[in-house]
């Protein structure tokens, strides 16, 4: 925490959190819903409706083929048996046009984002905002001075119809090809919505850009695609927030994020994910970093029933760096398999991974990391640190670090600790007037603090709220 006063503000806000904040839903009236299940016909319909270039339709159909030939992952991570792909509506869209003024956004959708605090955040601390509701982007706006510098922040579908089509074609699903895994293929076939960000060489944004994804419809899938290109010497902080209300049927999120960090450029990608507890979050994120560039991930995973999330960074250029900071909180009924992968493929590349995981009420939290140092990565350096905190005897926490080092001069380290809140700590805090629950929450907030202090204040507050709700067992 930067200043004592900031701490105080956060603490007061936490006291006023409303548990109904995330768990509300809107009617699906006026929706158009495709039949459950997946056929070439559906994929063609999606493409036609979006009036896409033909190469995109080709990519979709090719992806569908791959999807149908690849088998479901087996012997890997948590079970996804509860996910019946024949009953996931792959495309659900509210009948609205994208707006650039909140007043034009339909009242119930606007209300949703108001309750999530998005317009407020836009006014106070963001350079631009995108808001996606189910499969479509419903709001997009950016400050004029940012646009004047040549920064592009728009819906990716919209960008396909503009001057950046060729650039998108060169990069779209090149970092995450449809052949990567079954859900990448599914994404390639049915992707919809998402953001396109282009920061020209040498441009540095003072404020973050933010996208907020909200999945409202029951039994739906969200397959947004985020493509960010940060040109040489440019600097961007991008924030992604996700939430959904709780339904009794399974929802699927199989988004895809592709990040291109140019020479000497810097990209920070922050995520606070709070999908509802019936969500299968099978998301693929990947970044490629050129010479002297730096990639920073800050990630908080709180929601979903099952998560498979391993953002990957390829340090392709010499002296490029990657910092990965994350926290995962698995509560009752949650099996969160998270971690990251870093490939150090050039000389003098550095990677530093620091993760925290919490498990409570029978939740399972698994940290999986993979660090690869290739033969070409002279003097590469990587450190991985993983700390786990189990809040009771019924929960589980596993650490599965993998390292594949092909050079003798590589400097690679790993440390992991797994612990509990000690009785001494509880007594100490309680002897100063905190209830047992407050004492536990205090320890957990402290544990999460290295991550929350990397986030802008409002997001740090949101994260503390989520922790508080988890500690009270109010969510789900």
């Amino acid at each position: 925490m930067s200043t004592p006063e900031a701490t105080t503000v956060a603490a007061r806000d936490i006291g006023e959190v409303d548990r109904s904040l995330y768990d509300f839903r809107k009617s699906e009236e006026g929706y158009e819903r495709f039949a459950d299940g997946l056929t070439p016909r559906i994929v063609e319909d999606i493409s036609r409706r979006k009036d896409e270039p033909s190469w995109m339709l080709d990519l979709r159909l090719r992806s569908l083929d791959i999807y149908q030939t690849l088998s479901m992952p087996s012997n890997w991570g948590p079970s996804i048996e509860g996910l019946d792909m024949d009953h996931i509506s792959t495309y659900v869209t509210p009948k609205v046009k994208q707006a650039d003024d909140w007043d034009e956004v339909p009242a119930d959708i606007k209300d949703t984002f108001e309750r999530l605090g998005i317009p407020e955040a836009e006014r106070t601390s963001l350079a631009g905002v995108g808001a996606q509701y189910d499969s479509e982007l419903v709001y997009h706006n950016m400050r004029d001075e940012v646009a004047e510098q040549g920064v592009v922040y728009s819906g990716i579908e919209e960008a396909l119809h503009g001057p950046y089509e060729d650039l998108i074609r060169e990069r779209f699903m090149h970092l995450v090809p449809p052949t990567d895994h079954k859900f990448a293929a599914l994404h390639g076939a049915v992707w919809s919505g998402g953001s396109f960000v282009y920061v020209p060489a040498g441009v540095s944004l003072d404020f973050p850009l933010q996208s907020y994804f909200r999945l409202n419809a029951a039994g739906a899938g969200q397959f947004e695609h985020t493509l960010i290109i940060v040109e040489p010497g440019a600097n961007l902080h991008f924030i992604e927030g996700c939430s959904a209300p709780k339904y009794n049927v399974a929802n699927l999120h199989a988004g895809c994020v592709e990040l291109y960090v140019g020479r000497g450029a810097r990209l920070r990608y922050s995520t606070i994910e709070n999908w509802s507890k019936n969500m299968y979050n099978l998301n693929t994120k990947r970044a490629r970093v050129e010479e002297g560039g730096s990639m920073e991930w800050v990630s908080g995973s709180f929601g979903s029933h099952v998560s498979y999330l391993y953002p990957t960074t390829i340090l392709a250029g010499a002296k490029s760096t990657c910092e990965f900071t994350s926290i995962t909180f698995a509560g009752h009924g949650q099996d969160l398999d998270t971690g990251c992968k870093v490939v150090l493929a050039a000389p003098d590349t550095h990677a530093s991974v620091s993760t925290k995981s919490l498990s409570k009420d029978g939740g399972v939290s698994t940290f999986r990391s993979s660090v690869v140092v290739t033969k070409t990565a002279e003097r590469a350096k990587a450190s991985v640190s993983c700390q786990s905190l189990m809040l009771d005897d019924r929960s589980r926490s596993d650490t599965i670090p993998a390292m594949d080092v092909r050079r003798r001069d590589a400097d690679v380290g790993h440390e992991a600790t797994i612990g509990r809140i000690s009785d001494d700590t509880l007594l100490y805090l309680m002897s100063r007037g905190m209830s047992e629950q407050e004492a536990r929450t205090c320890v957990v907030n402290g544990f999460a603090n290295p991550i929350s202090k990397e986030l802008p204040l409002e997001y740090a507050v949101e994260m503390n709220n989520l922790i508080k709700l988890e500690m009270e067992g109010a969510i789900g």
């Binding site: 200043t3 105080t8 603490a11 007037g433 905190m434």
Partner: protein, 275 residues
């Protein structure tokens, strides 16, 4: 209470109770154990409003245990007897309830809590108490005042609670909390003979400020008489093998300083108090 003692009393510090009102802390017939192991036997101890008591005894006598039992440490079970505070029976209350009622225990080894800023922590624990609610600005000023009194570097406030603090620094942080929380009874567990000269000075300064500013009661647990040199003691209790074997005025401190605890250990053996 002699005249010298009375002269340092502030007006907020009432005279020790004689008859009349019940004492602030009343421990009666207390037996306590840790699991199957009995530790305290038939403890009777009263601390009146504004009084300063000292609990002395050799290592392992159970002095710290008594402090922890009064605070409500669940490591120990009260098997018989009771603890009442401010006229209410708190024997079964949790430590936080006792804290809010006005009991404070300074720990021998304060716990490190990573990621929690000292300032945020101080603000949180003060906000739990209606009598200490105040604006952020006012609170900030109060903290500055207290820091000045204890010679605490305000740079510490942004550090993590007790993390990486030396023994003496941790003592300062305990005294800082003591002065901010303004408890009615402060139990200072200073059994650790490893306290260096600096830490001793800190504890003494904290006690002095607490006596003048807050005027609350004190129970100082120690076997180190040096810590008592600057304190006006009302009553001295001696614990051996889990029993209180002697009680006296401030003169008992000097006597123990000269003669040690041997004499009391013999008494304990005669009483059959050694478990």
């Amino acid at each position: 209470m002699d005249e010298r003692d009375a002269s340092v009393c502030t007006s907020t510090r009432p005279k020790p109770t004689e008859g009349g009102d019940a004492p602030l802390l009343e421990v009666s017939g207390l037996d306590a154990s840790a699991g199957d192991k009995p530790i305290l036997h038939g403890i009777d101890l009263d601390v009146g409003e504004g009084e300063c008591h000292v609990l002395m005894g050799p290592n392992g006598a159970g002095k710290s245990t008594l402090g922890h039992v009064i605070m409500g440490d669940p490591t120990y079970q009260v098997t018989s007897g009771s603890i009442s505070f401010g006229g209410s029976d708190v024997t079964d209350e949790s430590p936080d309830k006792r804290s809010l009622a006005g009991i404070f225990l300074s720990f021998q080894a304060p716990v490190e809590v990573p990621g929690v800023s000292l300032y945020g922590f101080l603000r949180t624990i003060c906000q739990k108490r209606p009598e200490l609610k105040m604006t952020s600005r006012r609170f900030r000023e109060r903290v500055s005042d207290v820091c000045a009194k204890l010679d605490v570097d305000e740079g510490w406030l942004t550090r993590e609670l007790n993390v990486g603090f030396s023994g003496g620094e941790k003592k300062k942080v305990e005294m800082l909390q003591l002065l901010l929380l303004r408890p009615r009874l402060a139990i200072l567990d200073e059994t650790d003979s490893g306290l260096d000269v600096d830490a001793l000075a800190v504890v003494s300064a904290g006690i002095e400020a607490y006596r003048t500013d807050v005027g609350g009661s004190l129970l100082v647990i120690t076997h180190n008489t040096r810590i008592l040199e600057r304190i006006d003691v009302d009553r001295t209790h001696v614990m051996v093998a889990g029993s209180l074997v002697a009680e006296g005025g401030p003169e008992l401190v000097g006597q123990i300083d000269r003669e040690g605890f041997e004499r009391f250990e013999d008494v304990a053996s005669e009483k059959g108090g050694i478990a």
